[in-house]
């Protein structure tokens, strides 16, 4: 995986629907580190992740990826984004879903089988999306992280609907990603990776 040396937000300000969500937020995450985004409901956790993914234009400020000179890749080639919605289709099996994502996101052929194994989805690989439980759907959405190598993971409430075992799988796969030099930004209400640095948006808003 071609890593990025760091991920930096420089005085980010986002306005949505005429409302100031947050102002002048700056932070840096180095290669191999986790930034845990905390904050009350509506503090802008999801907005921040979407902004880093390039799905949302900030009103001012910018997001900077630490790339070697001459590397012109943009956010859309560097990040994985797992949002609130699982993007799992009722009519496609788990394997077909990941197969489609692999092609769209640009992974190699054997990565689907690896993703199924890593997220322990092999027993339900041929099951259509409509028969999956909420936790299983979540795991399929998370398995997208493994179908193509991308250095930055943006996770919005990744542990929602997951049981203890699935949560452990998430933590393990996250650790492996960090060891490989990846960066994780996780918005969550519960602590996930113990080494994470915390960015509390509630405090930022008050400041």
């Amino acid at each position: 995986m071609k890593t990025v040396s760091s991920l930096t937000a420089d005085r980010l300000t986002v306005i949505r629907g005429g409302r100031l969500v947050f102002r002048d937020i700056s932070w840096t995450a180095e290669s191999g580190s986790v930034l845990a985004v905390h904050g009350r409901n509506g503090a802008g956790k999801s907005t921040l992740l979407r902004c880093v993914a390039g799905l949302l234009e900030p009103a001012s400020g910018r997001v900077h990826f630490g790339l070697p000179r001459g590397d012109e890749r943009e956010a859309s080639a560097l990040v994985h984004y797992v949002g609130h919605h699982d993007a799992v289709k009722a009519a496609l099996s788990v394997r077909e879903t990941l197969q489609a994502w692999r092609r769209v996101l640009g992974g190699s052929a054997q990565q689907v089988d690896m993703a199924l194994a890593k997220w322990q989805l092999l027993p339900i690989a041929e099951l259509p999306g409509q028969y999956l439980s909420a936790g299983q759907r979540r795991r399929v959405a998370l398995a997208r992280l493994s179908v193509a190598d991308r250095p930055v993971w943006l996770l919005d409430e990744p542990s929602a609907a997951l049981d203890q075992a699935a949560r452990a799988i998430l933590l393990d796969n996250g650790e492996a990603h960090l060891r490989a030099g990846g960066i994780i930004l996780a918005a969550s209400h519960e602590p996930l990776w113990p080494q994470a640095r915390v960015l509390d948006l509630s405090l930022q808003a008050a400041a």
Binding site: G83, H85, V104, G106
Partner: protein, 221 residues
């Protein structure tokens, strides 16, 4: 390009399995055609006069009913967000979805539509021209339809809005599609309207991906 064909494959499989594509669109088309003689009366001459226009109207309506799921379903379940993180540009993503839509909603009309000619009192010789006009004109329907679908993404029950946006824009395609077919039925030269029909599809190909991608960008922020 692998991302492009991957998306075409995915959308085609989805449409085929859910029945929103292959079966439903053509079934709707066939039903409208089959109802025409019941409404207009069985007089072959009257039917033959109205047939080209009715055939094209039925085609437009059947394409229209499949348009509201083109982007809306993917918008609602978060798929569009992920598609925007693909290495392929949004314009190409739109084109892939339009191609899949054409394959599932329009190609069945091109292939099986001519079989319905006898119901409308058209001679067997009209079958090939019917298929030709549908082949030349339906890409314009899918492409222009994508603009309407992209503009109404995020609107609850946007299907009606799509119809309101698209139906006026379909008018030139209807005019030249029905015109070319009528020329063929009357035994006059059909090449000119047919070429103009194909030109509309090419024109739509040149602008629709950019227009639809722009509309999606605006609607998704």
């Amino acid at each position: 390009m692998r991302a492009f064909w991957g998306l075409v494959w995915r959308d085609t499989v989805l449409a085929a399995r859910i029945g929103g594509g292959f079966g439903l669109g053509f079934g709707f088309f066939a039903l409208v055609i089959a109802l025409v003689p019941l409404g207009v009366g069985p007089d072959p001459e009257t039917l033959r006069q109205a047939a080209p226009g009715l055939l094209w109207l039925a085609a437009i309506l059947s394409v229209l009913i499949s348009l509201d799921r083109l982007f809306q379903a993917d918008f609602e379940d978060g798929t569009l967000d992920i598609l925007r993180l693909s290495p392929m540009p949004l314009e190409l993503m739109v084109l892939a979805k339009v191609l899949a839509h054409w394959l599932t909603a329009c190609l069945p009309l091109v292939l099986a539509g001519p079989l319905l000619c006898p119901i409308l009192g058209l001679p067997v010789e009209a079958m090939v021209p019917t298929g030709l006009t549908l082949l030349a004109g339906t890409p314009a329907l899918s492409l222009i339809g994508a603009i309407g679908a992209a503009l109404s993404v995020g609107v609850r029950r946007g299907g009606l809005l799509i119809a309101a946006i698209c139906l006026p824009l379909f008018a030139p395609t209807l005019i030249f599609g029905a015109g070319a077919l009528k020329a063929a039925v009357d035994g006059t030269e059909m090449l000119t309207p047919l070429v103009l029909l194909a030109a509309q599809s090419l024109f739509a190909l040149a602008i629709a991906p950019w227009a639809a991608a722009g509309a999606l960008r605006v609607n998704m922020t």
